[in-house]
Every structure is written in structure tokens, then in C-alpha cells.
């Protein structure tokens, strides 16, 4: 009865098997295992058990997208009018089930830092204030800065109901000292001798050496040392491997659910929101749910907001234009040109590698500065929408009042030696006016008041003086060839490679494009080098010029510039080839070292003295120009007012405007539902 299997029979059997395997593979798409989350399960039941509300609005994919009703009912539903949907800056979460942000990188803007966590203090760059979170007030240092006492806010509870106390802070520090896998391990080992809690609401640190800025490790500026809930972590043998899921924080929201593929994380308002510092300070957050969603392309973001599926979009300049042109309900940060968010606490610009000739020569650095026509430059870089700053801090928050305005007289009188005993006053207080006039000539409409001009375009920049730039170069042996191209003192053609990242909408690339165009016009063979790992090249000194920030970002609140100036400390400089620890320009000076030392020995809460030293530091930076500050970082935010209004726009800047910043939680009580 047996027969030999023919070739055709075998092929038939093979086809049947392949079909089966294919179907099985398709089935695998849907077999992603549910992630057991006690919190999300509980809340999901609550949602499903509120039939009246649930049936009103559809799902997270809101009207008018056609969602099959059966799907909407079964899959976790969010009443749209109670839900705020915002874009996640850092993209898809790689490890959605791991929320232990003390270890490595954990996409903290997925809601961890901006909704669920509460730091001791936060900076608010829109108001220039430092906000007390878990701390009740400023830290008090001993006169020699070897100890400090931090008062803690009373009545705060973690989102699982456990009271927050000083024991949590002590536990956090001691755990960091014990485990080298935690991000802050080295810092605390280097700095902390002992940490104690004399009572439930006071923490005392004894430091190993004087450090007047020790507390800033707890000051949240898109990252800080966050406090661990002791009652959760102490049950874990290894806090480095612990996934800390669900996240337990003192913020006003707690985890609802998340996508195992990392595209979204949903948060729900705590029932006891009044036990979070946010609730205590600002009242009840308005959105019941907040979903933070990652988008892999800008077009999808625009489409999502046009169909009211995304309340907060963050786009490129062109993306924002496209959105505003098509949407009847979207708005930008500023209601008129330049539309952009212009108060981010970063100064963009040009960074020189001062360890590499000819950029080790301050005359060359100044020549390259004076070869820039800032009107053309900002037009190329950001369509004239940047706010200029002539010094190494951005024009925002406290800095115009504390630094840029008081430095105006000095800047006007500041001169450089251009040879033959002649000097040249480099400052141009009319530069912002020229930028505004150029923007207006291109059809942009905006208020014509000095206040608006100062807020939108800044207080001044440097002159466009190519003839003076030429004299500075000639003074140092540079020459032009027959075609007008600049030659180095050794007679070789001068080529500048301007390094930036590969995302050409980022500000390093925008500055690169503008600077290269300006320097080519001046006769230098400059080119943009867009390199993915440009950070590594800069850190080891293998570059000419880059689009990195020309100075370390300031805190964005308070007058203290220690964070900016200290990166120029000569102690952090490393030889080319080794990763430097300070700023990548590798510039330092004895004068700057003395200023940093002076600032280090000054109480950061002594505003008058701090500003005085800060001004001295900025003057030293301008004199040496190790990097050229151009315009403050600008962001392109699109807010949909279909479901939510009262956004912190420029006309009502009650809080910083970004939803990825930790302070996002502080503006949730001020949002107003439209009832749509």
C-alpha cells in the first residue's frame, strides 16, 4: 500500500506547510503579551465602568476618524474631551516597561519627568523663577559651603498614598553612593560625606569639599537627581536592574497604561492630586487623561493635529507654517510673526575649536564674527525669527534685565585692536532693528513697538564689517589669492569644515548653513560637514568649527551663571584626542578661572554679587569669543484649540510652554476644556 512520495506531492505538501507557517506568523502579530500592570488594570476598569461618559466620546482616535465601535469599546478608551494628547520629543520609547530613570536613558519626557515626578526644585525659564517642588524653600549653606540644609514640603504623598518624607531623600543619596550603575553615583561619591534627616521634613548634607552649587543636582532643568520612593526601592535587591513599573512619583498624574511598542504612554490624574506639590501650588489639573505619543515623521504629526488627534505638535519651521496655513483651530506660541517659541534657555551659534590653528587666534575668531551679516544670517537660519544675543546667554527670562541690558554701555564701548594702532567698536545696537525691517520687507506683519522688537529680536549684535575682518586677518599674515579667496599664513588655501548633525532642521545645522554661506561670501572655502557622530568628534577635538552651543546652557531661571562659566574652567580641559570634560571649544583663560573661583565662593542666593561676577565672566567671553552667540534656541510648537485652550503663549506666558519639559505638570491646572 505504500507509495513513493513524488516530487509534485512533496511540493504540494510544502505549499500547505508554508501557508500554515505564514498564517501562524500573521497571528504572531497579535500575540504580543499583555503587560501585567496593576495600576493600569484598575484604572481601565474604572473607565469601562463609567458608561455615560464613555459613550459620549469615542476613543483615543477621536472623531471624525472612523473607529469601529466594537474596537473602541474594547480597547482602552479615553474620553476625548477629558484627554490631552501631546507629542513626545524624544521619540518612541525603546524600553516601555522600564521606568527606572536613575539608570541610563529612559525617555523621561514620556511623562515620567513632566507628569509623574516632582523634583526638589524646577527652573521656569518663561517667568525666570525657581519653583519649589518637594522642597519648601531655598537650601541653606554653611558659610564655608561644606554643608547645607534643605527644608521639605509638608503634606506631600507619593501617588500610591505613602507620605513623602526626608527618609526618601536620604535613601536616594545612600543608594546612589552604593550602586555604581546609577547615573549619579560618581557625583555623590565625590561630594557627599554624610546625609541625614533630623526630622521628617529636613535633610542635612555634609560635603567632602566646599561646593556652593551642590543643590543644583536636584534642580530640574530637563533632568536632575530625582527622589526615589524608599518604600518601593528598599524591597528590591538590585536597584539598577529594577524596572520601577509602574512609576511611583509625587507628581499629579500616575501611570494608566502604555504601548508595549513604545509609541504612547497614558497617564491619569491622581484622585489625591491635592497631595502633589502641583496640586498644592496651582490647584487641580484639568485633563483627566494625558497621552504622550511618539511620531516618527512630521507629516503624520501635522495630519494628526489637522484631524484633532494631537493637541500639541512640535514641528520644523516649514511644518509649523504648513499647519497654521491649513488649520482653523491651531495656534503657535506667538500670535503674530515670528510665531516661534523664543524663550528656550539655550543660546545657539558657532563654536570654534580653539585647540586647532587658526582658531586658537582671537583675531581670527573676531574676523569670522565680523564677516557675518546677522540680517542675512538669521534669514537663512530661521527665517528672521530668532532673538539675537551678543553675549553667551540667551535673551530670555532674567538675562536681558540682569545681564544683557546692563552690559549695553560696555558693549558699545568695547573695541578690538585691528592693527596699526587702530581700534574698532564691534557692537551694533541697531542689528535687531535691521532684522525686523528685513522681516517686514518680506511681508511679515507684527507690532511696531520697541518692547516687541526687544522681545522678538533682542537688544543688539555685532556689526557686519568685512573690511575690518580682512584687516584682522591680514594683521596675522593671511592673504587673498588672485580670485579673492583667503589663504592661510603659510600660503595654503583656507578651508573650514563646519561640523553639525544630520538632522538638518536642528539649530546646529541651521547655524552651519548660515555661517558657511556668509564665510563663502567673504572668500573662505567653507563647507558643512553633517556627521551623525559629530559629538564624539567635538569631544575629542577633531573638528574646526561646529554648530554646538557656543556656551553651556544657563539654568534659565535665577541670576546665577555658574553653569555657563564653569564649563570654561581650565581644570576640565583635556588634550586633543582625549574626551574633554568642559565645553568643546577647549578655551579657557586665567582671568576666567579667577572669575569661576570667585563665583564658586559666592552664595548663589546673593543676587547682586552673583550678577556682578556673571557680568565679568560674560565680558571675558566676549573679549575672547571662543564661540559666537547668534540667536536663542527657537521651537516651533503648534497648539490645537479645538479641545483645550489657555495655552501659555507669549501673550500669557504664565509658564514655560513645552510639554516635554518637567514643568508641563505646572500648567495642566490652567488649561481650559472647550467642551467640544
Amino acid at each position: 500500500m505504500s507509495r513513493i512520495l513524488s516530487r509534485r506531492d512533496f511540493l504540494k505538501a510544502l505549499a500547505a506547510s508554508a501557508s500554515g507557517a505564514l498564517l501562524a506568523a500573521c497571528g504572531a502579530t497579535s500575540t504580543t503579551q499583555p503587560t501585567a500592570q496593576p495600576v493600569e488594570i484598575e484604572v481601565t476598569r474604572v473607565v469601562a465602568g463609567t458608561p455615560v461618559v464613555e459613550r459620549i466620546v469615542v476613543t483615543a482616535v477621536p472623531e471624525p476618524t472612523r473607529v469601529p465601535e466594537a474596537v473602541a469599546d474594547v480597547l482602552g478608551t479615553f474620553p476625548r474631551r477629558e484627554t490631552l494628547i501631546v507629542r513626545q520629543l524624544t521619540g518612541r520609547v525603546g524600553t516601555p516597561d522600564n521606568m527606572n530613570l536613575w539608570v541610563g536613558w529612559k525617555w523621561q519626557d514620556r511623562g515620567l519627568q513632566n507628569l509623574a515626578d516632582e523634583p526638589l526644585w524646577s527652573v521656569d525659564f518663561a517667568t525666570g523663577n525657581i519653583i519649589n517642588g518637594l522642597a519648601e524653600g531655598d537650601p541653606k549653606y554653611s558659610p564655608d559651603f561644606t554643608s547645607l540644609t534643605i527644608p521639605l514640603r509638608k503634606g506631600v504623598a507619593w501617588n500610591d498614598g505613602t507620605p513623602f518624607t526626608a527618609a526618601d531623600v536620604v535613601y536616594t543619596i545612600e543608594t546612589h553612593i552604593k550602586h555604581s550603575g546609577l547615573n549619579g553615583h560618581t557625583f555623590f561619591v565625590d561630594n557627599v560625606d554624610t546625609v541625614t534627616a533630623p526630622d521628617d521634613h529636613t535633610v542635612v548634607f555634609k560635603l567632602k569639599q566646599p561646593n556652593s552649587r551642590f543643590h543644583t543636582t536636584f534642580l530640574d532643568r530637563w533632568g536632575c537627581t530625582r527622589i526615589m520612593p524608599r518604600h518601593i526601592f528598599e524591597k528590591e535587591a538590585d536597584p539598577v536592574q529594577f524596572t520601577f513599573n509602574p512609576y511611583v512619583g509625587c507628581g499629579p498624574y500616575k501611570l494608566h497604561s502604555y504601548d508595549p511598542q513604545g509609541f504612547w504612554t497614558a497617564w491619569v490624574k491622581r484622585d489625591d492630586w491635592d497631595k502633589s506639590p502641583t496640586g498644592m501650588m496651582y490647584g487641580e489639573p484639568q485633563p483627566r487623561y494625558i497621552i504622550i505619543q511618539a511620531f516618527d515623521n512630521e507629516g503624520a504629526q501635522i495630519l494628526a493635529q489637522l484631524t484633532h488627534q494631537l493637541d500639541v505638535a512640535e514641528l520644523s519651521a516649514d511644518g509649523l507654517k504648513a499647519l497654521l496655513a491649513q488649520s482653523k483651530t491651531s495656534r503657535a506660541y506667538q500670535p503674530t510673526f515670528p510665531f516661534v517659541v523664543n524663550n528656550d534657555p539655550c543660546i545657539t551659534g558657532i563654536l570654534f575649536n580653539t585647540a586647532r590653528p587658526p582658531f586658537d587666534n582671537v583675531d581670527v575668531r573676531w574676523a569670522l564674527t565680523l564677516a557675518i551679516d546677522i540680517v542675512e544670517y538669521t534669514s537663512i537660519a530661521v527665517d528672521s525669527s530668532g532673538t539675537l544675543s551678543p553675549v553667551h546667554v540667551p535673551h530670555l527670562g532674567p538675562y536681558p534685565k540682569d545681564y544683557i541690558a546692563p552690559m549695553q554701555d560696555w558693549l558699545k564701548e568695547f573695541t578690538i585692536d585691528i592693527g596699526n594702532g587702530e581700534t574698532f567698536a564691534v557692537y551694533d545696537p541697531d542689528a535687531p532693528k535691521r532684522v525686523a525691517e528685513y522681516a517686514r520687507s518680506r511681508g511679515y506683519v507684527f507690532p511696531d513697538t520697541p518692547e516687541f522688537q526687544a522681545q522678538a529680536f533682542g537688544l543688539g549684535w555685532y556689526k557686519y564689517a568685512p573690511d575690518v575682518a580682512a584687516r584682522l586677518l591680514e594683521k596675522n599674515g593671511f592673504k587673498r589669492d588672485a580670485n579673492g579667496k583667503w589663504l592661510l599664513p603659510d600660503g595654503k588655501p583656507w578651508k573650514i569644515g563646519f561640523v553639525c548633525g544630520t538632522t538638518l532642521t536642528n539649530h546646529d545645522a541651521r547655524n552651519a548653513a548660515a555661517a558657511v554661506q556668509q564665510w563663502k561670501k567673504f572668500g573662505i572655502d567653507a563647507e558643512v560637514l553633517a556627521i551623525a557622530d559629530n559629538d564624539g568628534l567635538q569631544a575629542t577635538g577633531d573638528f574646526d568649527v561646529s554648530g554646538n552651543w557656543p556656551a553651556q546652557e544657563p539654568w534659565g531661571a535665577g541670576p546665577d551663571l555658574y553653569r555657563v562659566l564653569d564649563r570654561w574652567n581650565s581644570a576640565y580641559k583635556r588634550p586633543v584626542g582625549e574626551r574633554t570634560q568642559g565645553i568643546y571649544s577647549r578655551w579657557s583663560s586665567d582671568e576666567m578661572d579667577a572669575i569661576i573661583k570667585d563665583l564658586r565662593e559666592t552664595d548663589p542666593f546673593n543676587a547682586e554679587k552673583t550678577i556682578e561676577i556673571g557680568i565679568a565672566g560674560l565680558k571675558e567671553a566676549v573679549k575672547n569669543m571662543p564661540g559666537i552667540p547668534t540667536y536663542g534656541y527657537i521651537g516651533f510648537v503648534g497648539w490645537d484649540e479645538y479641545y483645550w485652550t489657555n495655552w501659555p503663549g507669549s501673550e500669557n506666558a504664565y509658564c514655560q510652554p513645552y510639554t516635554h519639559w518637567p514643568n508641563f505638570k505646572y500648567f495642566t491646572p490652567f488649561l481650559k476644556s472647550t467642551g467640544a
Binding site: A28, T29, A70, G76, G104, W222, G223, W264, R579
Partner: protein, 335 residues
């Protein structure tokens, strides 16, 4: 025995050598690039505005180097890597520390397999059947129309075509979701509602791949059939009175299909690299984005983990096709 000695054993040795060589090259290449996983992590944290105290930087670098297991020479790391691999352990992801590489791949793999196996199979079957018929009946109106459509569709850059579909069917018509592998709030479960939701989200990515992939198969198959159709054995069959249907099915398409089978095997092997542009345009989960991010962030272990699947997938596919070829083409014999 002759088959074993003359063909199978040497072929298996070659297979093992290719896999070893491929894995070794993938081990070396990331280490030869200027990317460094420790610096990538520090750079990422710095770029996002977090404070890393300059004075603590040396300590942080030392801690991360130890934590990632990057101490020692490349040779030490190479031996440690093979030791782990033989135990089925790809190690931990550097950038997504302490997540295990195998977990990250296992999370993304079903999405990639589900989408690409299905679309590769559909575009191959449909493209070859229609292309085969169009190649035989070249003078028919429908054949010319399909050929014209394929001529227009095939040269379109995939990104443009995929985004146009998204704009039209998700943005303008609003029939499909704009992004994601499932709806916001959808918790994975083996329920019909969830499966429907996943299929609804997969439709546009799949459509884009099937249309472009199908057009390619259509055009290749059409040309192959036209060539076979001109062969003397086909003319002889026609003169001999063999029915047209039999000529098409048994004589023409079957013979033209042989190179397409090799193409299918290679396509299936390449599935493990994912579909990066599809994932970006449609915000769809999968291995493509995981691999891209691992390369950008110098996540050596993750690069190795994903590419090992790809290397093994492609070499195995070629091996299987080689071994199975006599089944499809009786003229081929290894003994």
C-alpha cells in the same frame, strides 16, 4: 552517499563559514566606526539638557564601560561574545540598558514578520500570476493597461508613494489611522477586537508594500514569460495542439517561475532587517527602527543581535533554495 559527499557536506561547511564570517564582520564594523556606546550615552544625556558634572565625567565613563562589559581588548570581547552566543544570550542593550537584546528583538519581531511575510507572499503570488498572464497575453488591452500602471508605480520612490497613501487614505479620506501599530489605549490581547484593530493599522503599510512589491514582481515575471513564450518548445506545443490553458500553466509560467523562486527566498531572508521607511512613514513597530537606532547609538550588542538574524536568515534561505531546487526543476540533480 554521493550527494552527501559531493554536495551536502561541503555546502553545509560553506554555510557555517559564511555565517561565522558574517557575524565576525558585524562584530568588527561597529567597533571600527567613530561611534562609541559610552560617548553616545553621555552625548544623549548632555544633548537633552541634563547636567553631567564635568568633574565626575571620568568616573561616569568608567562606570558605563564596566556596566556595558566593554573592558578589555577586542579579542577579549570577541571571545566573550561567542561564549554568550553559544548560550543563546545576546547580552544587554547599551542604550536601553538594562533591557536584554533578546527581549527587544522578541518584542519587535512579530510585527516585522507579520507585516513583511504577508506582504512579501501576497506581492509575490499576485505579481507573478498577473505578470505571467500579462506576459503571455501581451496584446490584450488589460495586459497593456496593467503594464502601463506598473511602469508608473514602480519608479516611484517608496517614501513618496507611502506618504501619498497616508495623505490620501488616512488624512483626506480618514479611512485608516495616521500612525501606530494599534490604537491609543489598546492593550495587546488575543481578542478579535484587538486583532481587528491591528489589521486596520497594518492595512496601509501592507498596501504600500504590496503595490510596489507586486509591481516589481509583475514586471519581472512578464519579461520572463515573454522570453519563455518565444522558446521553441512552446511553439512546438502550440503546433502540437496542446490547449492554451495548459501551455500557460504547465509550459510557460512554470518555467518562468524558477528565477522568481530564488528571488522569493532572498526576499524572505531579508525580512529580518525590517522595513525602516515603512516604519517611519506609518509609525509602525518593527525591527527596522530598532536596527537604525542601534547603529546611530553604537549599541553594539543590539546591532549584533538583529544582524545575526539577518545573516542566518539570508544564508539559510539560500541554502534551502539550493537544496530544494531539484524539487522545482527536475533537470537539476546533485547526484
Amino acid at each position: 552517499m554521493a550527494f552527501l559527499k559531493r554536495y551536502l557536506i561541503p555546502r553545509l561547511i560553506q554555510y557555517v563559514l559564511v555565517v561565522w564570517l558574517g557575524i565576525t564582520v558585524v562584530f568588527l564594523i561597529p567597533r571600527l566606526t567613530p561611534n562609541d556606546p559610552v560617548m553616545a550615552m553621555i552625548g544623549m544625556i548632555r544633548a537633552r539638557g541634563s547636567t553631567l558634572e564635568p568633574g565626575s565625567m571620568d568616573g561616569i565613563i568608567a562606570d558605563l564601560t564596566e556596566m556595558y562589559g566593554l573592558q578589555g581588548s577586542w579579542l577579549d570581547q570577541y571571545w566573550a561574545f561567542w561564549g554568550r552566543l553559544f548560550r543563546g544570550d545576546f547580552g544587554v542593550s547599551f542604550f536601553q540598558f538594562p533591557a536584554r537584546v533578546s527581549d527587544l528583538i522578541a518584542n519587535a519581531m512579530p510585527w516585522t514578520l507579520g507585516l513583511l511575510l504577508t506582504t512579501t507572499a501576497i506581492s509575490w503570488v499576485v505579481g507573478n500570476i498577473i505578470g505571467g498572464l500579462a506576459g503571455y497575453y501581451t496584446r490584450k488591452g488589460w495586459s497593456r493597461t496593467l503594464d502601463a500602471i506598473a511602469m508608473v508605480v514602480r519608479p516611484l520612490p517608496y517614501y513618496i508613494f507611502a506618504f501619498a497613501l497616508l495623505l490620501l487614505l488616512a488624512g483626506f479620506m480618514r479611512w485608516f489611522p495616521i500612525t501606530g501599530g494599534a490604537s491609543l489605549g489598546a492593550i495587546p490581547s488575543f481578542t478579535w477586537a484587538y486583532i481587528k484593530d491591528v489589521l486596520w493599522h497594518a492595512f496601509l503599510p501592507a498596501l504600500s508594500l504590496v503595490v510596489l512589491g507586486g509591481a516589481v514582481n509583475f514586471q519581472i515575471m512578464k519579461l520572463l514569460v515573454q522570453n519563455v513564450n518565444a522558446e521553441s518548445f512552446v511553439q512546438y506545443a502550440k503546433l502540437g495542439g496542446v490547449t492554451e490553458g495548459r501551455i500557460v500553466r504547465k509550459y510557460v509560467i512554470r518555467n518562468a517561475l524558477l528565477p522568481q523562486i530564488t528571488g522569493l527566498a532572498l526576499s524572505l531572508g531579508q525580512i529580518f532587517s525590517g522595513a525602516l521607511i515603512t516604519e517611519i512613514v506609518y509609525g509602525y513597530p518593527g525591527l527596522g527602527m530598532l536596527l537604525y537606532n542601534s547603529i546611530v547609538r553604537a549599541d553594539y550588542n543590539l546591532i549584533m543581535g538583529i544582524t545575526i538574524f539577518s545573516i542566518v536568515g539570508i544564508t539559510t534561505a539560500i541554502l534551502i533554495v539550493d537544496l530544494a531546487y531539484p524539487l522545482f526543476d527536475p533537470r537539476v540533480r546533485y547526484y
